[in-house]
Symmetry: C7
Subunit: 261 residues, 7 copies
C-alpha cells in the first residue's frame, strides 16, 4: 500500500531503510534468459541461453569477450550490458597501455561495482537493469575467478553461480556438484555448464546447439567461444532430464521480453 510513495525515486529511502527502485531494477535480472558460470583451478566457464527474437534473426549474443583473459555473461537489459561491456573493454585497454599487462579482474570488477553504486545514489540516472557473470584470470596470481554483479552495486565472488529466468534449477544442480569442480578438466566443466543450463530452458523448448553457447578463459587459455557445431559434441554428452518444477516466482514475463535477452 504505502509502499508507493517511496518507490519511484532511487534516492528515496523507505521507512524500513530500503531503496525500492534498486530492488525493482534487480527484478529485471530475473527476466533475462539464464546464464551460468563455474570454475576449476585452471579454467573458468560461462554458459548462456541465447534468445532468438524471431526465426529470421540471428540469436542474441549473451556471452561477450572483454579481453583475452576475461569473459562476460549477461541476464537483463542487453542495451545496458553492451554499454557496460564497452566501458570494461576500454578499461582493459587503458590498463594494458599504462602497465603493459592485463588488468586484474578484481580491480576492474571493483571499479565496475562502484559504477553501479553511483547510479543508486544520484537521481540523474537509473540503476542498471542487468546482472553480470564475469570470468577472469588474474595475471599476477595466475588464478581463475568468477564474479557476479547486481544492480545494487554489490559484487560477489562465486565458485559457481546462475542468474536469470528459471536459474534456480541451475543453482540447485551446481550446489550438488560443485565440490568436484576444482579438479575438473575444461571439457568436464563445459558439460557441467550445459547440464545446469538445460534445466533453465523454458517449458516448450530444449537446449540445442542453436540456443546454447559456452565461453572459456583459463590459465593458459585465451577467450574462446563455443557455439553451434562446435557445441554439438558437448551436448551429445548430456543426460537431459527436463526440469519440470519451475520455480513459480521466477516465471518469465513475456511482456517484457522485447527489451531483455
Amino acid at each position: 500500500m504505502f509502499r508507493n510513495q517511496y518507490d519511484t525515486d532511487v534516492t528515496v529511502w523507505s521507512p524500513e531503510g530500503r531503496l525500492l527502485q534498486v530492488e525493482y531494477a534487480m527484478e529485471s535480472v530475473k527476466q533475462g534468459s539464464a546464464c551460468v558460470g563455474l570454475r576449476s583451478n585452471d579454467y573458468c566457464v560461462l554458459g548462456a541461453l541465447k534468445r532468438s527474437v524471431s526465426e529470421l534473426s540471428s540469436h542474441q549474443k549473451k556471452l561477450l569477450e572483454i579481453d583475452d583473459h576475461m569473459a562476460m555473461g549477461i541476464a537483463g537489459l542487453t542495451a545496458d550490458a553492451r554499454s557496460l561491456a564497452k566501458y570494461m573493454r576500454n578499461e582493459c585497454l587503458n590498463h594494458k597501455y599504462v602497465y603493459g599487462d592485463n588488468i586484474p579482474p578484481a580491480v576492474l570488477m571493483s571499479d565496475l561495482a562502484d559504477k553501479h553504486q553511483r547510479t543508486t545514489q544520484t537521481y540523474v540516472r537509473r540503476p542498471f537493469g542487468v546482472g553480470l557473470l564475469v570470468a577472469g584470470v588474474d595475471p599476477q596470481r595466475n588464478s581463475c575467478h568468477l564474479y557476479q554483479t547486481c544492480p545494487s552495486g554489490n559484487l560477489y565472488e562465486f565458485y559457481a553461480s546462475a542468474i536469470g529466468a528459471r536459474s534456480q534449477s541451475a543453482r540447485t544442480y551446481l550446489e550438488k556438484h560443485y565440490e568436484s569442480f576444482p579438479a575438473s578438466s575444461k571439457d568436464e566443466l563445459i558439460v557441467h555448464a550445459l547440464q545446469a543450463l538445460a534445466g533453465c530452458v523454458s517449458g516448450d523448448d530444449e537446449l540445442t546447439k542453436e540456443n546454447g553457447s559456452i565461453a572459456v578463459v583459463g590459465k593458459n587459455q585465451n577467450y574462446i567461444l563455443i557455439e553451434v557445431e562446435e557445441l554439438q559434441p558437448y551436448l551429445d554428452k548430456l543426460e537431459i532430464k527436463r526440469n519440470d518444477d519451475d520455480d513459480a516466482e521466477e516465471e518469465e514475463s513475456e511482456d517484457a521480453e522485447a527489451m531483455e535477452t
Copy 2:
C-alpha cells in the same frame, strides 16, 4: 491500474523490473508505415511503403542513403529518424576521413545502439520513437548485413525482417521464403521485398509505383533507390494476394498519423 505511477519517467523501474516509458516508445514504431528488409549473400534490399500526407504533397521519404554502402528504412517518428540519419552520415564521413575507408556497419550500429541506450537511462531526453532497418556492406569482410534497432537500445542482426504497421503479414511471408534468399539475385530479392510489402498495405489501398520504394546496396553495388517508373517492372512481376487478416493488435492509429511516416 497501479501501472500509472511507474510509467511517466524513463528512469523509473516498475516493481516487475520493467521500464514502461521505453515500452511505450516502442509502440510508436508499430504506428509507422511498414518497412521490410532482406538479404542474399551479395545484396541487401530494403522496401518501404511511403505515406502521402495529401494529394498535393510528395510522398514522404522512408528509405534514406546513409553512405554508398549503407541504407536505412524507418518506421515511427520521421523527425527522430532524420536526426539519427544525420548523425550516422556524419560518423561515416568521420570514419572515411580518419581511416580512408567505409565504416563497418557493425561498428556504426553499435554506436547508434549506445546512443539509444543513453536516452533510456537519463531523464533529460525521451527515448527515440523510431525503429530502423539498416542495410550495409562490411568493407573488410565484403559481406552483406541487415540490422534492426529499437527504442530500447537493442540491436539485432536479421536475415530478413519487417517493422511498422501491419508488418506481421510481411514477417510471415519472409519466414516462409527466407531459405531461398541467400542465393537469390538482386531482382529476385526486390520482388520478394515488394511481395512482403504488399501484405502491409492498409485495407483500402494497394501497393503501387507511387507508394512503394526499394533501396539496394551490395558487394559491388553502391546505394540505389528504385521508385516510381523504375519500380513498375518489378511490381508487374507480383502476384498480389491482399492480406485480409490484419493483425488486430497492430491496427493503425489514425490519430497519431500526423507525426508518423
Copy 3:
C-alpha cells in the same frame, strides 16, 4: 480520461506511443489565420490573410522575406515564427559568407526541421507553436520548391498546400486545380492563391486588399511582396464564391486570438 497523465510533459510517451504535447502544439497551427502556397515550374507563390488587431493597428505581417530567394508564410504563434525567421536569415547570411552563394532551401529546411525536433525531445523547451510554408529557389538546380514544417519536426515538400484556420476549403480548391499549376504564369498563380485564400476568410469578412497579401519568388524573380494597392488588380480577377461549409473541426478559437496571427 487517463490521457491526462501523459500529456503535460513533452518527453513522456503515452501508452499508445504518442507524444501528446507535440500534438497539442500542432493544434496551435490550426488557430492561426490561413496561409496558402503553390508553385509552377518557374514561380513559387505564398498568400496569407493578415489579421488586424484593431482598426488602429497596421495588419500583422504574415509573409516574411528570408532572403532574395526564399519567402515564409506562417500560421500559429507569431512570436515563435519571428524567432525562427531570425534564425533562418542568419543561416542564409552565414551560407553566403562561406560559400558565396544562396543556401539551397532543402539544406536550410532540414536544419530547421532538426531545430524543431530537438524541442520535442528535451524537457527544457516547449515545441514551437507555429507551422510554416516556405517558398524557395534552389540556386544549383534553379528549381522552385514549396516546403511545409510542423511543430513535430516533420518536413514535407508540397506542390501546393494551405495551413491555418479554415484552410480545408483552400486545400480543396488547390486539389481541384493543381494539375494546371506547373505551366501557370506568375499572374495565374497569384490569382489561384487569392482564390484559395478567399475560401478561408471567416464568416463576416471578405478578402480585400487590406487583409490579403502575396509573396513571390522565382527562377528569375527575387522576393516581392504584393499588398494593398498592388493587390487590387489581382483581386479584381477573382470570382468570389464564399465558402459556407466551414469545416467544424477547424473553427477558430476566439479566445486564443491574442497570441495568434
Copy 4:
C-alpha cells in the same frame, strides 16, 4: 475544469493548442493603470495615468525616457518594466557606440519581442507581466512609429493605441478620431491623448495635473516629459465627459494593486 492541469507551466500546451500561462500574464497588463499612444507624421505622443501609492508618495513614473528619440509607457508590473527599460537603454548606448547613430526603433523592438518570446518557451523564467507602448523616431527614414508589446512576445505597430485598466474607452475615442491624427500638430496630439486618457480614470477620480503625464518625441523633437504645471494648459483645453460605461471585463482588481502601476 480540466484547464487546471495545463495552466501552471509556461512550457505546457493545452489540448487546444494554447499556452495558458502566457495568457494569464497578459491579464496583468489589464490591471495596470491606463496608457495611451498616438502619432502624427511628425510627432509621437504617449500619455499615462500615474497612480499614487499614498498621499505621501510621489506618483509612480509611467512614462520613461529610453533615449532622445524613444519613449516608453507601461501598464502592468512596474518592476518588470523597469528591468526592460534598463535593457533597452543599454541597447541604445551600444548601438550608438558601434554605429554612431540612434538605434532604429524597429530593430530594438524586434530584439525586445524576442526577449519576451524566450520567456514563453523555457521553464526557467516566467513571462514578463507588462505591456509597453513605445514611441520612437527612425533615424534613417526620419519617421515616427508607435509600437505595442505584449507578454506573449507579439509586437504590433499602431497608429494609436491604449492599454491597461479601462483602456477600452480610450481605444473607442482614438478610433473615432484617428483619421485626423496624421496632420495634427504636437499640441493637438497632446490634447487628444489627454482626452482619451480622461475616459480611463476610475469612477471616483479625475484626470488632473497630478496624475496625468505626457511624453513626446518627434522628428525634430527630442524626448520631453510634460507633467504637473506644464500639463495644466493642455488640461484646460479638455472637454471632460466622464466615461460611465466601464467595460465590465476590465474592472480593476484592487487586490493586485500593490504590485502594479
Copy 5:
C-alpha cells in the same frame, strides 16, 4: 479555493494575472515591527521600534548605516535585510573607489530594486521577505530622499512613510502633518518620527528609550544613530496618545515573531 494551485511557485501566474507568491512575501513585511521615515529639505530621519527577543538580549538593530550619506530601516525578515545591507555597503564602496564620490541613492536603489525583481522571475530563489525605508543624500544635487522598497521589486519615493506592524496609525499621523515637514528642523523631524512611532507600539507596551531608535542623515549631516540616553530628551517632548484603534488587518502574528524584527 482554486487559488492554491497558482500560489506555490514564484514563476507561475494566476488566471487573474497575479503572482501570489510575491504577494505572500509582502505579507512578511507587515509582520515586522514598525519603521517610519520622513524628510525635510535638509534632513532625512528614520525611526524604528526595536524588538527584544528576551530580557537578556540586546535589542535587535532595526536601523543600519549603509554609508555616511545613507541609512536603512527594515520591517520583515532581519536575515534578508542584513544580506541586502551587505550588498548595498559593498556597492557604496565600489562606487567611491571608481568615481571618488558617494553613490547617488537613486542609482543604488534602482539596482537594489532590480535585485528584488530578479527573485520574482526565476524559480531558484524566493522573493526577499523584507521591506526597506532608505534615507539618502544625493551627492550631486545635495538633496534629501526617502525611498521604500517592497518584495515585488517596486520602488517608491516618499515624502514620509511607515511600514511594518500597526504602521497604519503612523501613516495617518504623517499624512496629517507632512505639509510642515519640508521646513522642519532636525529636532522637529525627530519628534515627528517618534510621535508617529508611538502609535505603532503594541497594546501592552510603550515607546521608551530602550525600544525606540532614530537615524539621521542630512545635507551637512553624516549618519548618526540616536538611541537610549540620547533619545530621552526627544521622548520627553512627546505627547503620548495611545493608538487604541489598531487596524485589524495588520494585527501582529505572534507565531512568526521568531524570524522577524
Copy 6:
C-alpha cells in the same frame, strides 16, 4: 490544515508571509540537549549537558573550541554544528594569516549568519538544524560577547541565554540573576552556568561531572574546557533544586534523539 502545501519547500511563502520550513528547522534546536551561556565584563562562560549515546561511548562533545578567543555551544544536529565549526575555524585561521590578529567575533558571526540566510533562500540546501551559542573576546575592544544564532539566519547578542530541550528553566534562572553577572568572577559565572544547567536535566537524571561541561574564554583567558574531575569542585557548590515543572511545549522527542546532541 492547508498549511501543508506551503511547508515542504524552503523557498515557498505561506499566505501569511511565513517560511514554514525555516520554522520547522528551528524546532530541531529545541530537541538538542540544553546549552547555556553568560558573561561578566571579563569572562564569557558556556555550559552544556553532554548526552551519552550508551554507557560504552564517550559523551558527545557539546562545547567546541573555535579559536583561543572563541568557544561554541550547540543544540540541535551535531553533524550540522560540526560542519559549521570547521567553517568558523577556517575563517579564524584566514583572518590571522591576513591580518596577524584574532578575528573580531562580530565579524565572524555576521558571516556565519549570512551563511545561514543563504540556506533559507535557495532550494538546493535545507536550513541548518542547529542553534549556536558563541562566546568570544573582541581583540580590538578587549570586550566579552555572547552571540546566539538560529536556523533562520537571525543573530542576537545576549547578556545570558539558554537553548535546547527544557532550556526555559535555565532562562528563568538567568533572568532572575543576570544583573549580578557583569561584576561576577570567573568562578561565580561557572557556578551560575551550572545552576542554570541543573534545571535542564531531564526527569530521571541529574547534573554530574560526567554529563556537565563548561567552557571559558576571557579578556586574559584563552579557551579552557572544564570537565569531569575538574568540574566536581564547582558542582559541590551547587544547591540543587530539581526543576519539576518542565515546560510542556519543550518536552524532549525521544524518537529523534539519534540525530541530536
Copy 7:
C-alpha cells in the same frame, strides 16, 4: 499519517524538526549483519558476521583494511561501504604522501563524517545507507581508538560497540564486561568480540569459522585479519550461550537482504 509529506525528500524538515529520510537511512544499518568493536589500551579489535549469499559464493567481506593502522567493519549497504572505503584509503595515501606519516584516525573520521553530513543537506544525493565501526591507532599519541559513524553524519567514539541486526545482545554483553577491556590482552579481546558476536547470530545459525571474522590493529600491530582456520582456536575458547531473547525491534528484514551484508 501526515508523516508522509515530509519523508520523501532529504532536504525537507518535518514540523517536529526532524529529517525523516535521514532516519530511514539509519534503518538500513539495522538490517546489515552484526559487527562489533572493542579496544584495550594496546589493541583495537573488530568482529563481524559474514553473510553468504549462497553455498556457492565466498562469504561477503565485512571487515576491510583501510591502512596498516586502520580497519573498518560495516553494517548496511555493502556497495555504499565499499565506495566509502575507497575514499578513506585514498585519504590515507594522500596524507602519507604529504606528511610522511599515517593519518590520525580522528582527522580522517571527521572528514568522513562531513562527507556524510553533506548528503543530508543537498537534494542531489541520498544519505549513505551504512554504519561503520572504525578501529585505528593514532600515530602521534600512539593510542587506540574505536569510532562509529551513522548515516546522519554523527560520529561517536566508543570503548566498545555493536551495530547491525540483533546487535542489542552484543551491546548488552559488552556493557557487562567492558570494564575489564582496557587491560585485556589481544587474545582476550578477540574472545570477547566473538562472545559478543555469538549472540547476534540468527535463530537457526551458529557462529563458525566460516561466518565469523576478526580484524586487529594495535600499537605495535599492523592490520591483521583472522578468518577460517586461524579463527578456530579462538572459537574453541567460547562458552556459547545462544541468545534466545532477540530484540523484536531489530528483527531482520529478509526481503531487503539482497542489498545488505
